[in-house]
Point group: D2
Chain length 137, copies 4
């Protein structure tokens, strides 16, 4: 599992007084940094590999400014050319948002998706979400 | 159907050269302004009503800076206390992102969800997504 | 003068109920699109030219969600290799933010600043801020 | 001096490959959290006190995704009702952005600015920027 601690910002709240819902995908993407690094070790955009195909978010509790949040990221499924992450954002020991995101391994020069190399697949497998509670209900 | 034209911003691109995926929920939320106004006519946050329960986005084509985009919003389903929107973002006549979002009609003072009033329900029904192409394939 | 109309977004407000101050530079940058296009006609980032050296903002009145804003952009000064813009954001006929930004004409391949070509200089001059009210008090 | 470490996000880069300039005020605001807490100990927006009057930023070097940044915040000047911060963002031991921001102590209920209380003034004074290198050259 990948873990990142984020301190919410005033600019990430909205007029209703909580963290705006559009911030959640931003935090989730930030939580995937270590995965991006597996596919693009130098993180250079000209060598970028991970293209987002779809994502979903379930909002289970309000998030607030003033208390840090934990972003946790698991690998939910590894396909031939794509993989799915399962993610949770918690604050004060409450899971406030859950999401999934599917990426494809893409070669921008050749403009085509490619098989996930074995060495990356092995790295991803170390972070598999294995639990009786199914993440993709 | 609700329609909004948005001009992409330099700050909404990312190092890969396209509009960053986290911007799509921002544009989609902006496309729901007229719905928010149905529930909160003065748009004052102390009278806010619409609480997001979940959303999903499918990314079907890259979006670019330099050409305006169209955000289209339909009502996909109206429940007792909640409703679902179906949304599309197009650029240069290509649908680049499709999404759904489910809101509940919530009273922040009483801290409870409430039945959608008939007059709002009738307004929402005017924007129903009725098509043979199912939005939630 | 360059003019752009922007509809404020829920996600651009903050917990204090107004547009968050960090959004103002975003709207100002968006108002400079036509200037970026003078230096990079195809707006392609690999041909990008305009590098921001400094900016300042004065916040004169609160901005709100629910009413569109006008972003107005003038050229304040044209130097040899750099130029300064003067910008205002208005809502409901009140100037709510004033700012200045200085850009240099930069060649990313040669990694050096370059003289502003005459044909661009002439275009910029058409948008000069000429007023008795001095922009840089 | 206040210190905050921030990990740049993919969504904070732009098509030119660096951190977009509009992100800098966001990071600077985040670096002022401890100051906001002095004026509003519970950080509740209904008790909010700090209203931004003006700010400026000087961009001295490009910032990149992939390496954490340090945001450092000093108090530059304490007036009767307002105060000014001086801020720097560094990455890999290079100062990449310098800025100043002036806040007023504002009572939103009474709709008026108020004198900074002595106990807050004493706290602010502990973080004064005292250096031969003048911050406001």
């Amino acid at each position: 599992m990948f873990k990142k601690v984020i301190e919410p910002r005033v600019s990430e709240t909205d007029g209703a007084g909580h963290i705006n819902n559009t911030v959640i995908p931003v935090w989730f993407e930030s939580g995937r940094d270590d995965i991006f690094r597996m596919f693009t070790p130098d993180l250079a955009f000209q060598n970028w590999r991970c293209v987002l195909l779809k994502m979903d978010v379930e909002f289970t509790s309000q998030l607030f400014y003033g208390t840090s949040v934990n972003v946790q990221t698991w690998i939910n499924r590894i396909g031939n050319k794509s993989f799915e992450v399962y993610e949770e954002i918690s604050q004060s020991n409450t899971v406030c948002a859950k999401g999934r995101a599917t990426y494809v391994n893409y070669d921008f020069v050749l403009q085509q998706s490619e098989v996930i190399p074995d060495e990356i697949r092995e790295e991803l497998e170390k972070h598999l979400y294995m639990s009786n509670k199914t993440a993709s209900e």
